[in-house]
Symmetry: C2
Subunit: 632 residues, 2 copies
């Protein structure tokens, strides 16, 4: 159980092998294709034939009667009803904050570009009910579908019992207000949904887990021309637990087992920092296995699982990033540092009191998550997954004229003459010449400043905490702007072509001026509201910055920074940078710095500026540290 | 050219046939699979063999030299450089507002659930350069990738010329700050990216259009276990133009042709309301065709395209919804009504001055859009497409104890004993019993109110302008709550099980009380800030509502509504509804209504309440009509 790999001693190939997922055989793939193709060719008759053969259930109408739903609910233990409602409530509380944002931006003067989110018309939720009725899966899929406003939510589940479908599932559907349930499972259910056969509606998107046949059928129909979308590529469920030597072995074992009991092909990876921890966890796992009804399944899963022993937190994070686990459990004193180091995981469970089981059922976040390393590119199911966006463009005559030169030029470059003509005809009818690009939305701004010396583009988003892309050509200055972005809690994009063959002066000055302008654009409704200051120590240095977004430019710099340059950054540009920002932003900026080390002193000024800015742009105080503005 | 279908006279089969997309032959599919499978089996050698055979270009290193990028830029016409920059600026202005929101919600007391968005590590952008170098495609893919913060952006393009790749593409890459470009195209490029072969990195997600082989390869690798994600299913480009009898035929024709010139398989659908309009458009199309360099291609595309003649706007919208076009151009006086009626379209272009060509190049929205009806379930490429979300869960001992009863109950219901054990062990260590669910985030709230008479759950999201799901069992009351949601610009979910067999009283009262509570929860940082009023006429009726979010309940109702009920809604409940809301929200609500018709008077009160609420919850004034709060 849990073969061990010492990460730093292992070769690349050994690492890959240890973390490899089981490869599917392809049998299910061929069978699923055959079923889907039969349904595409023969429709209802093929659906019924496969349903009869594979499920022994092929009624005239697969739909579960309303009466059966009501009966199932009446028959459910009231305590179970409460548990279902409590879980649905928590899932609703978490998901209600999701959904694509709609907004409008004037991208050119006279050109209004908008984004609108709408739900899919028909969402199908596949709920397995083989070894167990997955009540929790129905909750996890139905709640975000309802929050997205999907007008038609359809549930399919393998046939069982008198009502057509497992009564716990029917009762849950009834509690959630879903009345369209079909008693059909397997690849034939997916085929019927993809084509709209045998009384099932044609689904726009199919959600939910299932066995290998269901997964293969979903993947196949999603690739067909005009086929439905699907939520996620499927694979066996998996967990990675990172445990340090202070972790409670009994808790770690319980988490490994709650993964292993799912399926013999479930994946379990234990990452720890010494063999003693591994041994304690294995002993605890053996002890709990003895009590477990599904011990056989769990043992099979554990047989193909492994332990990785790391030297450092960074190594452990690397293992997680390479593996990109569906579930990542952190039982380590440095759990919060690991949260920051891990880039790829479906869901992260932090600390001893946060078992994966809580997330599987009732904590709030979705339990339908990317497996098999898909977390590198996919997240779990969200409200957004039930929506799609449409962009809407509205141009006036002035707007058409403004865009025309760029459009006609690019159309010619691509050799698409009719495109150029379509634009030219509008320009001629507008009878106007292009103007200057207009401002973006209220909480984000882009400004370009072009002179004989530099060409600077700065984009600021006050409502996104990074990531930033900064490339001024002056390394230390990039570092300073990164401080402003990070400590300001904003996203900053800076691209410059500057006359650096002369010196850094123009580049720094013009970036600061453009940054101020972009910030002013982003802030425009907030100006005049905020006066904020921040003071911070940095080794021997202490710097303080106060900002008044008054609309009037004023800059004051107190302090003497020794030396001439830090990297390529001229020290004298520190005061000048804040003066430039104050000027173009229209703000009073006071900077005061004491210290000895120039590197520290310059950096402390920019950091304190970022912190003061963070407060200033989040005017509602700590209880609401960020606001995201949007036009209707 | 443009065979005509009269929508209302056509059978279902005729409609389907007229709007059917061309079916791919499957040849490309088999060839693409063969190439991908060869590269999976034989790696670098297979990539080079196919590149040599298909492109005649198989160097040791496919990567384009930095020198070639710089040279290409130096060689570009300065006016083209400006056009590229202007287009990128507009695309940046539009996309900067996108990106998944991160947030935290306390889903249970002691359970903090968060969502975090991170970029993919490696994004590959496939840029075709067959008949034309698609400079615009590079802009449309690179800018959102950069805004998402993707650390490694890789461009692949078919080989051409001395530098390895078409110089206009190289120059554009250089302008955009992208330095990793590979001169390789076709299915072999996709195979190399999917596996990380021949010096190309393994891509986490592959974006961009391409020929049938590229599309087939993308679709195939996306379905492989552990395969990369892709942006969108591919199909020929398409446009639908809805034109009324006042549309400018020359402009309509130019739009049809700028689609038709793309590709012989491009799809063009004209929807109009009479045959005279069709005839005018066809004549103008013929006239412009005579001047068009790519007339042959356009003629081929038009040969398989069609005109649909509709009687009403609703019919035209239905045609659009059935077809779900990639591009939808509205040249009709009632264009804005159509925008509201159309649910499925990649991008909508409104009015005479908004050609598709503008959106293809420089208007701001993305031009990489869903084709072949995929707009029913997919939107175009967004910043979100370059990100994925991770959920993060942190529970305290109290939190574990709070969730435990629901989790253990549901685990037992599903027969997963180890899950129940993992939760039970935490509950025992916490030594506590469950509490009551805590409040959600600052701008959204969910409350459940359960008495012997009713069980009401209300969810309010102040930052989402619908959709709402309201089902109280009292039709007219649903209608009133929909007014509040729509005019309030909020999303409202109301689910009730009430004692309607007695009457509507308890249901209405308890829904109002719960609504007030949920609203109070959603508003909590804003209380005390806002005093707003709104007055509106509705035929003979005039209603006014003033709200003071003071924290103190007070209700005043002036007016006499005639009669006893509207539908099942007792008229006397109007005043009572606002009193209940005032009580649980903690607000002063004054309502004044004059009129004659009870239906109008009740409805006007709720509408005015919605409008006043819209102002009250958007405290920053009209310039920033919506704020979205989030915890870090």
């Amino acid at each position: 159980m849990l073969d061990t790999l010492i990460w730093k001693d292992a070769t690349e190939a050994q690492r890959r092998r240890a973390l490899a997922r089981p490869v599917e055989t392809g049998t299910a793939d061929a069978a699923a294709r055959e079923i889907v193709d039969a349904v595409r060719a023969r429709g209802d008759e093929a659906v019924r034939a496969y349903a009869a053969r594979l499920d022994g259930h092929a009624p005239d109408d697969f739909r579960v009667l309303a009466e059966a739903l009501r009966e199932a609910r009446k028959g459910m233990d009231p305590a179970d009803i409460e548990a279902v409602k409590a879980a649905a409530d928590a899932v609703r509380r978490f998901h209600v904050r999701q959904g694509y944002s709609g907004y409008s931006v004037e991208t050119w003067p006279g050109v209004m570009a908008s984004r609108r989110a709408t739900p899919v018309d028909v969402a199908a939720l596949y709920v397995p009910a083989g070894s167990a009725p997955l009540v929790s899966t129905l909750i996890m899929l139905a709640v975000p579908a309802q929050l997205a406003g999907v007008p038609r939510i359809v549930v399919v589940a393998p046939p069982a019992g008198e009502g057509g479908v497992n009564p716990a599932l029917l009762a849950t559907a009834e509690i959630l207000g879903i009345d369209e349930v079909y008693a059909i499972g397997g690849a034939q259910a997916i085929a019927a949904l993809a084509t709209g056969a045998a009384g099932l509606p044609r689904a726009d998107k199919i959600f939910g887990p299932g066995n290998a046949y269901v997964a293969a059928a979903k993947s196949y129909v999603a690739g067909l021309p005009g086929g439905p979308a699907i939520d996620l590529p499927a694979g066996p469920s998996e967990v990675m637990v990172i445990a340090d030597d202070r972790a409670d072995a009994e808790l770690v074992a319980s988490d490994l087992l709650s993964q292993a009991e799912h399926d013999p092909s479930a994946q379990v990876v234990l990452v720890c920092f010494d063999s003693a921890t591994r041994d304690r966890v294995i002993a605890a796992t053996e002890a709990q296995l003895a009590q477990l009804p599904r011990a056989e399944i769990a043992r099979a899963a554990l047989a193909s699982s492994c332990t990785v022993i790391c030297d450092t937190l960074e190594e452990a994070a690397e293992v997680a990033n390479v593996y990109a686990p569906e579930h990542l459990i952190l039982q380590a004193d440095a759990a919060e540092r690991l949260v920051g180091l891990v880039r790829h995981a479906g869901s992260i469970f932090v600390g001893a009191f946060t078992p994966e089981a809580a997330g599987d059922y009732a904590a709030g976040p979705n339990h339908t998550l990317p497996t098999s390393g898909a977390a590198r590119a996919y997240g779990g199911v969200t409200v957004e997954a039930f929506q799609k966006t449409t962009t809407i463009l509205r141009a006036t005559a002035e707007g058409a004229a403004a865009m025309a030169p760029a459009v006609e030029r690019l159309a010619a470059l691509e050799g698409l003459e009719a495109h150029a003509t379509a634009m030219r005809l509008r320009r001629e009818r507008a009878g106007a010449q292009p103007g200057v690009a207009a401002a973006g939305g209220p909480r984000a701004g882009t400004k370009r400043r072009k002179t004989a010396e530099t060409d600077v583009t700065v984009t600021v988003n006050l409502d996104r905490d990074g990531p930033s892309r900064i490339a001024t050509g002056v390394g230390y200055f990039d570092h300073m702007l990164e401080q402003v972005a990070r400590h300001g809690g904003i996203a900053l994009d800076v691209a410059v072509e500057g006359d650096l063959h002369i010196d850094a002066h123009h580049t720094i000055e013009d970036v600061c001026l453009t940054f101020g302008e972009a910030l002013r654009e982003a802030l425009r409704d907030k100006r005049g509201l905020a006066r904020f200051g921040f003071e911070l120590p940095m080794d021997e240095t202490r710097a303080a910055v106060w900002i008044d977004l008054s609309g009037r430019p004023f800059a004051k710099f107190e302090g003497e920074i020794p030396g001439e340059t830090v990297g390529e950054f001229p020290v004298e540009m520190t005061a000048h940078a804040f003066r430039s920002i104050a000027e173009s932003l229209g703000a009073a900026i006071h900077v005061k710095v004491e210290g000895e080390n120039a590197h520290h002193m310059v950096e402390a000024c920019f950091k304190a500026f970022g912190r003061a800015l963070r407060k200033a742009v989040r005017v509602e105080g700590d209880a609401l540290p960020s606001t995201k503005g949007m036009l209707a």
